[in-house]
Amino acid sequence: MSSYILFLLLGLGSGAVYAMLALGLVLKHRAAGVVDFGHGAVAMFIAYVYLGLRADGTLQFPWIVIPHELTLRSSGLATIPAMVVALVYAAILGVVMYWTIYRPLRHATPLTRVCASVGTMLALQAIAVLNYGTTAKSTPTILPSSPLKIGDITIPSDRLWLAGIVILLAAALGAVYRYTRFGLATRASAENERGAALVGLSATRIALGNWVLATLLAGLAGILIAPISTVDPTSYTLFIVPALGCALIARFTSFGVAAAAGLALGMLQSEITKLLSVWSWLPEQGLPQAIPFLFIVVAMTMLSRGVGARGGTVELQNPSLGRPSRPYATTLLCFVAGIVILMALHGSLRTAFIASLVWIVLSLSLTVLTGYVGQVSLAQMSFAGLSGFVLSHLTAGAGLPFILALPLASLAAVPLGLLIGLPALRLRGVNLAVVTLAAAFALDALVFNSTWFGGGLAGRAIPTPKLFGWDLGIAKGDTYPRVIFGVVVLLFTCGAGLLVARLRTAPAGRMMIAVRSNERAAAAAGIDVARTKLLAFGLSAFIAGLGGTLFAYQQQNISPPSFAVFTSLSLLAVTYVAGVGRIAGAVVAGIMLSSTGLFVTAADKWFGVGEYQALVAGVALTLTAIKQPDGIAASPPPPLVALGKKLSGVWAGRRNGDTAPPAATPVGGVVER
């Protein structure tokens, strides 16, 4: 019995970190309406700053190349001064980040802010990798960690200290928000900035104050956990996932619930590790990671109410949508252009172009879901992954031919899409995003990482696609990549584009846009909101699944890391920045922005900037979110517009004699207004 309790108490350590990060997330959301995916990365960065001060007395700055170290003292600082300096640093970092990123975004849509925060997360992580490397570092203890005997169990006392600090912090924050004028003002200004100004409150200053407080909490969490779990760029950043789950359970409002959820989550994970050793029938892989998230998904779905009642304000500003005209002609044009590009490029650039085509299909799945129906999903790569692995089982396992296996495997994602779509019937906006993130995380840990299904580290092989004995594979002998494979991918990409373009103007598409604009109004107009949403999730999963199978054929061997949650996150971010309401947006996302796509590969090949790709992508993402929230494809560069007009003029002239060209703008993909 006592060992069960021991594991419960040991879990308080990671639980305290989840809780502290969750408190910061709640603060940021209440004050500035931001769900900050970069919160964990801030904690990681401050931990490195503390480490630097403690180890050799240097102060680290968040930039690269130009000198980024300042030596304060020849030897390391003591614990307390190092902590104080690191926390002051955190406060300044908070001010700078709020002022340069989130203040300009205070009238942007919640999703735009999410994308900006994903950008800061990627950038901070990239800076940490460039400056500190990926090897884990450790630091001497901070809290008293002498063994403590309670009854017949012995635990390090720092776990209890951590839990105590969290409980104190939560209580203090709760009291401040409930009883002080600052708390009241924060609640008021977060809800109605205009109203706040009219009673003499400056919403910006209030949000800034809260932001600094939240950054301090993140820094504190990062520093305190450093002695228990070694510091490295990735695992620290990943703390954001459980922390988001806890903040979500607290509905991004209650400090007490956020702290309790964090501690409980940590203890639950630790206890499952213990139970695994007792109940041998439990699946070994991923269970401690997965169970809590399954719990979050189910709990959130059950707890939420249906349609918002009186007293709940739902503000939804949607990104603009394109309106495809002449979809068939444009598809044909793109297909021909694609073949020309495939023939013209060679070697790594041709591979990159094929990767871009696959990414376009994946982005199109978000055009349907996020663009047309306004639902945010962070599980798109899970759909793709499921289809990819099913493809492997169907072909390598059951020996089905390509022509049957590809559609079947793509369809396999549909039930999963419907399942993940179920919470969407009750959850909206960023809450839905966090739940889909948790679902993706659980799926990744439990299903993809199972050796039978996902093939473990070695991955699973995908046999060469063959049609009536004709080899369509990407490689044959020494030829790699082959044009014929590119043509197959291009065919499917164009097909997916055409499907999404036709959907935009079809009755089902109109229903989706109605649901996106106003669910209540759509229901009042006789649209079955639940069915429309599920249809969109099913279709989106199918398109993502198609992308997954194409990806699998391209890779020839797939393994779980390709479909991890952070890939889904960057898919959403990149697609959103490119323009989630447009097919051209998906094209821009695939060719210009994806990390394995044509533009990035070419830039690396010619200028050797591959090392900085993650950093550049992160910064670019944040900048676009601030400067161009409708997406790059919403306002293409003028030369492209002129070219498009000329082309469409020629086209129209050929078909209809000398009628004036319509003011349409083809941007790579389908003609849009």
């Binding site: 004028r181 009241l184 609640r187 008021a188 109203g195 706040a196 100004a197 003499g200 304000t313």
Partner: protein, 243 residues
Amino acid sequence: MPDAPLLELDGLDAGYAGTPVVRDLHVTVSPGEVVALLGPNGAGKTTTMTTVAGLLDPIGGTVRFGGEDVGGVPAHLLARRGIALVPEGRALFFGLTVREHLTLAKGKGRALARDELLELLPELQKCLDRKAGVLSGGEQQMLAVGRALVSRPRLLLVDEMSLGLAPVIVERLLPILRRVATDLGAGVLFVEQHVALALEVADRAYVLNHGRLVLDGPASDLRDRPDLLRSSYLGDGAAPAAA
């Protein structure tokens, strides 16, 4: 007018993104005076009100409050100096209770005691601990007025008090403006579509149309000249027919 004007709009141009909606507007409001701002839809009344409150920056001309030029001063600073706006759409905090609204708006210093406020707006008494989001439309409007009054403003701006409210409630609410002027000595500038009711309460009135001042004068005079009002609302073409 015995007192120096509390609010003085001198050749004000106001509008959005550099394009004026209101041009060359001259309006004064003195302490203890109730002034109506009338006009058809799209005349520029709300634009004028939001500009005076500091939510919009003036494009041209000056806004003087208590003798000082306050053009371009942000709204939250003007609110602290004593300009309170009851905006169109009310801008309440739906998640906060009535009591919390009043605490927050009270600010520091010269606040109105709760008893005084509840005497003016007795309906708020019974819903002090309810959240603004669940109040009825009339109660929400009372709360919006109460939130503006509790800071004991020197200038009260009320934009379309009657929007979406039953005439009975409007008849109940408008006289409060008169009491605010007499009891608290504040200047009151209000926008109202119900012209007859507005002229009963106001000392003076300005009529705007197409962004320009077309008529102004003591309310009693305007009450006696419905033809003038009609032509100012409907344009010059209507004047001969009405006269």
